[in-house]
């Protein structure tokens, strides 16, 4: 186990270096003269402004040196300044990340709370009506883009439940209850799409476990059906679901970017999208780097948790 953790942690280094390198290269992909693009045509006429930017981004140095200098700043926590507002990118992201974090956690909770019971029910009634309808539910939600689900939720909310707040945002620190309440429609739109995937995964994992010898033994010695399903089988079937939730987290982050735009939530996704409209490349860079690193770390953490529970069950 220690060897495995060490190996995973070591592999983290090249992955994060690669992520940072690719993020760094993003602004060099922009066709045309970089300084003119970054400053805009008017501002780039001013030689002093030009030189200041060239100096700030080390554009007069070779690309590899630029990357190393940029990485050094990033590791110190300096993500540069917004090209539009001039504010620190780090401060801007620090303001918006709690919103995205809350959205991601709520969406994942909804996905697990809906997906796992549905998957278990479908597995215990495999081949029957409930199984078939779960399959239809899963396929529909896997196929529907989260931004469409969100739009339908807003239309439906406005028409049938006008008292329900679908837009606007209350910071969690201000009023936790109202904050969770206002974010619920957005989190549900994002979470339901993932719950469909989790339901299907739980179903196949459950079916596999239910066919194993220890389940048959439990049944043979007369353990009640409910206890077999929920105590013996489910605990084992959920292990791969943990690892699966980790891989879904990457998609969740991507989905959050778009859902925040739909529900006008002031999170990091909104920052990215606005930065794109304003061609604020340092802001895009900072946000992409932070979101991707977060996804990598969560994925790794859940993978390690998965190994840990797996081992405990093997040895107990």
């Amino acid at each position: 186990m220690t060897a495995y953790v060490a190996k995973r942690l070591l592999l983290l280094i090249p992955t994060l270096l690669g992520v940072s390198a690719l993020t760094f290269l993003l602004i060099h992909l922009i066709p045309g003269d970089l300084v003119t693009i970054l400053l805009g045509i008017t501002a780039s006429q001013n030689e002093q402004t030009r030189q200041a930017l060239i100096h700030a981004l080390h554009l007069d140095r070779p690309l590899a040196v630029q990357y190393v200098l940029w990485l050094r700043d990033v590791l110190r926590g300096d993500l540069g300044h917004s090209l539009v507002t001039g504010f620190s990118v780090r401060d801007e992201l620090a303001r918006s990340y709690p919103v995205t974090l809350q959205l991601a956690l709520m969406a994942m909770s909804i996905a697990l709370a809906v997906g796992i019971p549905l998957g278990v029910l479908a597995a215990t009634r495999a081949g029957r009506v409930l199984d078939a309808s779960t399959r239809v539910f899963s396929l529909l939600f896997i196929s529907a883009p989260a931004f469409f689900i969100g739009t339908v939720v807003i239309i439906g909310g406005a028409r049938y439940a006008p008292w329900l707040p679908t837009l606007g945002h209350v910071p969690f620190t201000e009023s936790p209850a109202r904050s969770v309440g206002t974010m619920l429609p957005a989190a549900a739109s994002l979470g339901l799409a993932i719950s469909a995937i989790i339901a299907r995964f739980t179903r196949s994992s459950m079916l596999e476990v239910l066919g194993q010898d220890f389940v048959r033994t439990a049944r043979a010695k007369g353990v009640a059906d409910r206890a077999v399903v929920y105590k013996h089988a489910l605990r084992n079937a959920l292990i791969p679901v943990v690892a699966m939730a980790g891989t879904q987290f990457v998609y969740l982050i991507g989905g959050a970017v778009i859902i925040e735009e739909v529900f006008a939530l002031p999170g990091m996704g909104r920052v990215v999208v606005n930065a794109i409209y304003q061609r604020d490349y340092t802001m895009i860079q900072g946000a992409v780097l932070l979101l991707t690193s977060a996804a990598v770390l969560v994925n790794l953490a859940l993978d390690l948790v998965y190994r840990l529970i797996d081992r405990r069950i093997l040895y107990s």
């Binding site: 690669g18 993020t23 992909l29 239309i155 469909a196 995937i197 991507g254 970017v257 992409v288 979101l291």
Partner: protein, 291 residues
């Protein structure tokens, strides 16, 4: 379209395929989609960009079956032409990803060595990014155009095909039939082309269908954010995005393109699932992926 053609792999599989509901339903949706894309000029009642002055935001009626949008264009015509935009991005980008990914993957799996190790690290990095986020960032840097969109999506999709082909090649190469061919003096090209590739094709076909469904979603998401196909081209994602301003008074503005996206994704998803179940009946109803 490789996704559809390969569903009927071999004469013995065909009857079982035809008994699979997912295969029939998915195939039907994909066929409708292809027909809509190819025959849009004959099927659509109007041109997708024709504006009917005075007929803005009309609910569905006999003249405009799905209503009109905020500037008075027929939504049915735009949704039909939208399949061209959607498949026009999805098919070339997945085709590029399949060609490049398979070539890279089969080479890495067959020869291995340092390039293989390096490629694995590069793929690890690409997999680390949330696909939508990387697509947004790349298109934002390159500038929104159809060519950039196709290239970006191809780059994002390529690793999946490369990894799949690589692991299949790794599993097949030690097998007797490949070793026998090698002992008989077959060239590398012959081993790769005549022995390995045909055995990987069914797996590739499944991934092609599933990738098409994911790519349609990514294209829609990018267009929704204004980074995809540019107006006035009738892209489903941008139709949905623009319709949101009027969604509470005129829900058909967003429902028509939204359902079109959903149906297209569902079709390729069902087809991919059915193909996978046909290849390995024990895996019936396994997990899917969502961008």
């Amino acid at each position: 379209m490789s996704g559809e053609a390969s569903g009927t792999a071999g004469p013995r599989r065909a009857p079982r395929a035809l008994r699979s509901g997912s295969f029939l339903f998915g195939g039907l949706i994909v066929t409708v989609l292809l027909v809509a894309a190819l025959a849009a000029p004959w099927l659509a009642p109007y041109a997708p960009t024709t504006i009917f002055p005075g007929a803005e935001i009309r609910p569905p009626d006999l003249r405009f079956w799905l209503g009109t949008d905020e500037v008075g264009r027929d939504i049915l015509s735009r949704v039909l032409y939208g399949s061209r935009v959607s498949l026009g991005v999805a098919i070339p980008s997945v085709a590029l990803a399949v060609l490049a990914g398979t070539t890279v993957g089969i080479g890495l799996g067959y020869w291995g060595g340092a390039p293989d190790l390096l490629a694995m690290r590069v793929f690890d990095v690409l997999f680390a990014f949330p696909p939508i986020l990387l697509a947004i960032a790349l298109v934002a840097a390159l500038g929104p155009s159809t060519v950039n969109l196709v290239l970006t999506i191809a780059v994002l999709t390529l690793p999946q095909f490369a990894m799949l082909t690589r692991s299949a090649t790794l599993a097949l190469t030690p097998q007797d039939f490949v070793q026998a061919a090698r002992a008989l003096g077959a060239s590398h090209a012959r081993i790769l082309g005549a022995h390995l590739l045909p055995n990987i094709t069914p797996t590739l076909a499944v991934q092609t269908s599933l990738s098409l469904s994911i790519v349609i979603l990514v294209e829609a998401a990018l267009s929704f954010l204004g980074l995809g196909t540019q107006p006035p081209a009738p892209s489903w994602g941008s139709m949905l995005s623009r319709g949101r301003q009027y969604m509470t008074i005129a829900p058909w503005l967003v429902l028509a393109p939204g359902l079109a996206i959903m149906l297209a994704v569902l079709g390729f998803n069902l087809l991919g699932d059915a193909q996978r179940d046909l290849l390995d009946p024990r895996r019936a109803g396994a997990e899917g992926r969502n961008p």
